[in-house]
């Protein structure tokens, strides 16, 4: 039973992890607390659902949902991010939240507030090892997530593109003076983080066979929490944070009860932040020298 709970926690963590990485790209790199990401997570799941309902095969529907999310994210970049440059970092939060509210309400109008059943892709999706039940979809999403994350962290740390991205992260103005094509790079990052969020949403739908217009909020906030626990800007931190939050949640449900989940999970987050203000694997921000 404990083993099963750990497996459950890890699988849950994989979802948080992808969302956390999407947030890390947005905040760590673009310095933009992008609250439209939970919306894109939801849009990923809901649109895949909608397209499948309209008769599209799964892969095509998933691709369609990803493309739509990428497109929406470009709108977010255009209307929420770009006009806010040079202001306080918290300002774009408003319109990105505007996008979240908009996406939720559009889905609400289209599909209603009910949770909808996402079709099972295979009749029995489960690997049964001894007493353990592990969903294939979950396993696949864990591996997929890890792969994406590893690739991403390599690009950021070791390549010229990564250096360009980190330059934009530190200062857009300097990046401009360095001849970095911000007008292209930033939208690319938006597309990437949207794709990650939407992919997480699709994997979520496949794993838990459900979608709803509000599915983004809870997962989104836990994703941010995971990112922060791990340390902002650190990709592997996001992985660690995601898994940790997933485990904390499952463990506190099974050993104490669901009424304390928020207390334990967010209490853990609070504690980590107080003890280590930059997160577990985050670096303290480098300050300009006096």
């Amino acid at each position: 039973m404990v083993a099963q709970q750990i497996v459950n926690g890890l699988m849950l963590g994989a979802i948080y992890m992808l969302v956390a990485v999407a947030f890390t790209l947005a905040i760590g790199v673009l310095n933009f607390l992008n609250f439209s990401l939970p919306g894109l997570f939801m849009a990923g799941g809901m649109l895949a659902f909608g397209l499948m309902k309209a008769g599209w095969p799964f892969l095509l529907a998933a691709a369609g949902a990803l493309a739509a999310a990428a497109f929406i994210s470009l709108l977010v970049e255009r209307f929420a991010y770009r006009p806010m440059q040079g202001g306080d970092p918290e300002v774009p939060l408003v319109s990105s939240l505007g996008f979240l509210v908009l996406l939720e309400n559009l889905m609400l109008v289209q599909f209603g507030s009910d949770q909808q059943a996402f079709p099972a892709l295979l009749p029995d999706l489960n690997l049964r090892l001894g007493g353990l039940v592990i969903g294939y979809a979950q396993l696949a999403s864990l591996l997929l997530s890890l792969g994406i994350v590893a690739a991403l962290s390599f690009v950021l740390a070791k390549t010229s593109a990564g250096r360009r991205i980190r330059t934009v992260a530190e200062s857009r103005e300097t990046a401009l003076l360095m001849g970095i094509d911000i007008a292209r790079l930033v939208p690319q990052l938006f597309v990437a983080s949207a794709a990650l969020a939407a992919l997480a949403g699709i994997l979520f739908a496949v794993n838990y066979q459900q979608v709803s217009p509000f599915m983004g909020e809870g997962v989104g906030f836990k994703g941010v929490a995971a990112m922060i626990v791990g340390g902002m800007g650190s990709i592997w931190g996001a992985v660690l944070g995601g898994l940790l939050i997933g485990l904390a949640e499952v463990v506190s449900i099974s050993f104490i009860g669901a009424d304390v989940v928020n207390i334990t999970v967010y209490g853990l987050l609070l504690l980590i932040l107080i003890v280590r203000p930059q997160g577990l694997m985050g670096r303290a921000p480098s300050r300009e020298k006096l």
């Binding site: 006009p83 918290e90 939060l93 559009l106 902002m232």
Partner: protein, 280 residues
């Protein structure tokens, strides 16, 4: 005044108080995403006093505000070790923990919520909101406000200039918490019912939204933001299911046009420049 208008203005008054609770710490660079938690402390605290100890409202409501302020002070000390988005997340977590604690606190009803017997009428609520606005106007004219902005702008240099950065931060945080608690306490006694579910993340986040939308550069921003967010959905009532979608589009378009919020310092300068021109 019609019943409808009273109802809407009461909601506006609560939103204004909440907005200023967010605004004050924000002026010192603190994005408090857990303001609902402090409202809950004020609400439950004062309700407990009037319900169980028969305190009069005029004493219980300030007591609730103080309780929230004190909590802010005590929690602010460790939480203010964090900065920027980490701070925002810490307060977010704090808000979640506080509301989860009340959700499980059976002496105040737990998940079933907590009915409150004493009633504070609309006029009390209006007076309180006006009081909060006046207080904030006053503060914005003092050196305290100036130095809060200095701390936000460059804490290292402010420190070297002798500004007690930590003290300022804690003061701003605790004052914000107190205003939130005050609003919460009134909320409990006006609506005669509190439930932990009401004081959730979305309440915190939306309150922050009022402030940023109105603009943080001047003390009028939160007022305008709260008014916009309260009144525009009322105006959109007719469009029913599209109401919130249309509203969201409004937000996005407005922010794209006025990224620093509706009310900005530049706007004020423009008015000041215009005024003498017009009179001459």
């Amino acid at each position: 005044m019609s019943g409808y208008l009273t109802g809407v203005l009461v909601v506006l008054a609560f939103n204004v108080m909440a907005a200023y609770a967010v605004y004050l710490p924000l002026a010192a660079g603190q994005l408090n995403l857990g303001i609902a938690g402090f409202m809950a402390i004020g609400a439950y605290g004062s309700a407990f006093l009037t319900n169980e100890y028969m305190w009069p409202m005029w004493a219980a409501i300030p007591a609730g505000a103080l309780a929230a302020g004190l909590t802010g002070f005590l929690i602010g000390l460790p939480v203010l070790r964090t900065h920027g988005i980490y701070f925002a997340m810490a307060t977010f977590a704090l808000g979640q923990v506080i509301s989860a604690v009340f959700l499980n606190l059976e002496v105040v009803g737990g998940a079933a919520g907590y009915p409150v017997t004493d009633y504070a009428g609309p006029n009390v609520v209006f007076a309180a909101a006006v009081g909060v606005v006046l207080l904030m106007l006053y503060i914005s004219r003092t050196r305290f406000a100036l130095e809060l902005t200095a701390v936000k702008s460059d804490a290292t240099v402010a420190d070297l200039l002798g500004v007690p950065v930590r003290g300022m931060k804690v003061a701003a945080f605790a004052l914000g918490a107190m205003v939130a608690g005050f609003g919460g306490a009134l909320y409990a006694h006006h609506y005669n019912f509190v439930e932990a579910q009401h004081f959730n993340v979305l309440l915190s986040v939306f309150t922050v939204l009022y402030v940023l939308f109105g603009g943080t550069q001047t003390v009028w921003g939160p007022l305008v933001g709260a008014a916009f967010f309260t009144l525009v959905p009322e105006l959109l009532r007719a469009s029913d299911q599209w109401r919130y979608a249309v509203f969201a589009v409004f937000i996005i378009v407005f922010m794209a046009l006025r990224p620093q919020g509706l009310v900005t310092a530049a706007l004020f300068r423009l008015f000041r420049r215009r005024a003498p021109e017009a009179s001459s």
